[in-house]
Amino acid sequence: MSSIFWPCDVARSGFCYGWDHPALCVAGVLEAEEDSHADVLLQRAARSAEVQALIKICGTPRVLGRCVFSSFARSSYPQPDVEMFCGPSRACSTAYIYYHRHDANSLRFYALGSNGTRLFDLQDEVLRSSLKHNFLHTALSRNASDTGQVLVNQWNSAKSLEQLIEHEQRAQTTVIQEPNTRFKETSNLTAINKKIQRTIDGIQSSTNLFWRVASFVFVYSREFSIVVQQIESRARKLRRLLRGVQPVSNGDVRLKSSQYIEFYNTLWIILNDLIIGIALRQFLRQDRQAFLHLFKFAFEDKAVHRIRQILLWLDSWPAGLKLNTELSRFYSHSFMGLIALWNRGFRTVTPLIPMSLSALEFGSALGVTMALAMVCDLVCIFMAHVQLCYLVSVTVYGHLLRLVASLWNLFRGRRHNVLRNRTDPWDYDVDQLLLGTILFTLVAYLFPTVLVYYILFATMRVSTILVYASLETTLAFMNYFPLFALMLRVKDPQRSPGGIYMRVEPTRGGNGVDVSVESYTLPLAVTFNQYVELWKRLAKHYHPLRLVWYVVSGRVLDTIPRTCVHSTT
């Protein structure tokens, strides 16, 4: 019951050639007088470099047999009468499975693909081994797993093999023009790319003081400033664009297609970015005055005066709570002093606000991602006073909390054993216990005050972090959206295949069926794979419960480190 893979678009008589391992797969038909002529032609074609590359992934093509087509075609697929030279001799009619021969330039191909698991992933080792082990079957070596991929490679390269053989048949001596010209312009771009690489290497290895200071500043500011990170990632993308125009040796359509898609995806994202950025810039320019007003007065009122009012309220028995007067006064005065200092700095910087707004406009002309990055940094800068007060209060609160934990151990008669990382029973001396009691009364009287001030600044810090997190999330999503891949799915699904299936259709004659190999598109989950990964990282860092736990336990809240986000490229 074995069948032959026949290309859909071949309907000539002659000698059919193709591969006979792992399955009988016909690549095309040669019109020749005798099979020895066809053999000679194949041997001649096999000497060229491209066919050698093809042979490496598909296997050696041979003349398989002779085929004759009847004059009337009753079905939409060709039905040849084939007489095969190899394989078991059959007296009955052979069955055909049809496949599409895609042109190499069209970037369509079949892929066996990881079809995605439907039920569940069996990660558990025990379960896996129990499924693999089967007492009835003898285990063969894993060579068999390649046959599917080899067959798919054969289908993908059938058309290019035919073109190469025809080219050989016409025995042209001139090389095909097209790759030559493309090679010339790519050589220009690769030269530019090499020059950039050399300058970067030169800067990194130079001993010149200026360059060393500059690179140090760059590396250091990368940790703090989103704008610098954004500039760096955009520069890296542009460099990859320059590199991505290289030609790839024919043979691996999958690699070529993925390079193509990546190149155009980056290009589209950047262009989209610029377009939306320019639109945003227009919007900012038109409502410039409103933005200035909004920023200056609303900000000063909310971020400075409100905090002062709240601090004053906390100082004078808030909601009837009797806080420690001296400590509370000290706290509120010092925080108000910090904020007043910052306010004075802000006042001197106020004339520069229109300039920063113009900088924002300029940034948005470079892309909306740059504008978002600038807004992120501005949020950071203008909330610096809250950050400072938060750091002070979280340190005090954290220390007090650790003191309480240690005193709790003291009163239970236990001690933390650092060597074994556990608490062991321990006999304390009387004076140690006395000291502990004194400290405990101190802490018991001061803790509510510290707690109240800490709650204030912790809530402000959490809200700032949430705003910052949402901005960063939007930025990350805009940087890595798989726009081109989505459009390709809609436009030409055969260029992003997710797997193959056999389509069984009844023939027009009514009796039999035609079986053809088709490919279905990549599922959305695979296209958005990087996105999901990024989202998981962001969600893990900015998880609300994690933030609450950090607030309660007195740990410092920070923004997501740079390597977490940018290593997904």
């Binding site: 079957h137 063969l140 079986v515």
Partner: protein, 197 residues
């Protein structure tokens, strides 16, 4: 093309169809009643009594619909939903066995009196197919059997794909399909023993 029913007495919904390049094990979405009376219990019906109630209900509510677009939209949604439910019933599911190439699990859905409208297919190449097994599933106090194709993917993860996922026929049907697939896919005639392709 040759069509046989290997279990005509108890499970006539299973039919084996021999095509030139593959063999199809088709299970249709009906069964015989289990009390032995020989009645046919259909899984996919073309009409039911509720379809007659729907026009009656609409004719009662219609005078009130005149002015209200929201209710009208809701009614259209309900009618559309019932029609959609009727048109995506499972007609039959099959396992196509291409010897030496692989197996394909198919589900055909549509309206019961017409040709299938939607077909979902899943092809597993022979090199990826590790095994074709009957698994025991425990659901509450029952044991249910199902056919599963164990296959690896390119990322070296093992996964299971259930054959006849929606109909879930009973054990004799599963045994028949299991034996057929094992014979075609895993039996090496020259060595006369079971191997993997």
């Amino acid at each position: 093309m040759q069509r046989t029913r290997p279990l005509p007495d108890c499970h006539p919904e299973l039919s084996v169809i021999e095509w030139p390049s593959f063999r199809e094990y088709r299970v249709e979405n009906w069964r015989l009643a289990r009390d032995g009376s020989g009645n046919v219990v259909r899984g996919a019906t073309s009409w039911g009594w509720i379809d007659l109630c729907l026009p009656v209900v609409i004719s009662f509510i219609w005078p009130r619909f005149r002015g209200n677009t929201m209710l009208w939209a809701f009614a259209v949604l309900v009618v559309g939903f019932t029609m959609y439910c009727r048109c995506v019933q499972v007609l039959h599911e099959s396992v196509l066995v291409f010897p030496a190439y692989g197996i394909q699990l198919e589900t055909h859905r549509g309206y019961p009196l017409l040709k299938p409208l939607f077909v979902s297919r899943r092809f597993i190449h022979a090199s990826l197919l590790e095994d074709f097994i009957i698994n025991e599933g425990l659901r509450r106090w029952n044991v249910r059997y199902y056919l599963a194709a164990v296959h690896g993917s390119s990322t070296d993860k093992i996964a299971l794909d259930v054959a006849f996922e929606n109909i879930l026929p009973h054990f004799p049907v599963l045994l028949e399909v299991y034996q057929g697939v094992q014979e075609l896919m895993f039996y090496n005639h020259t060595n006369n023993r079971h191997t993997r392709i």
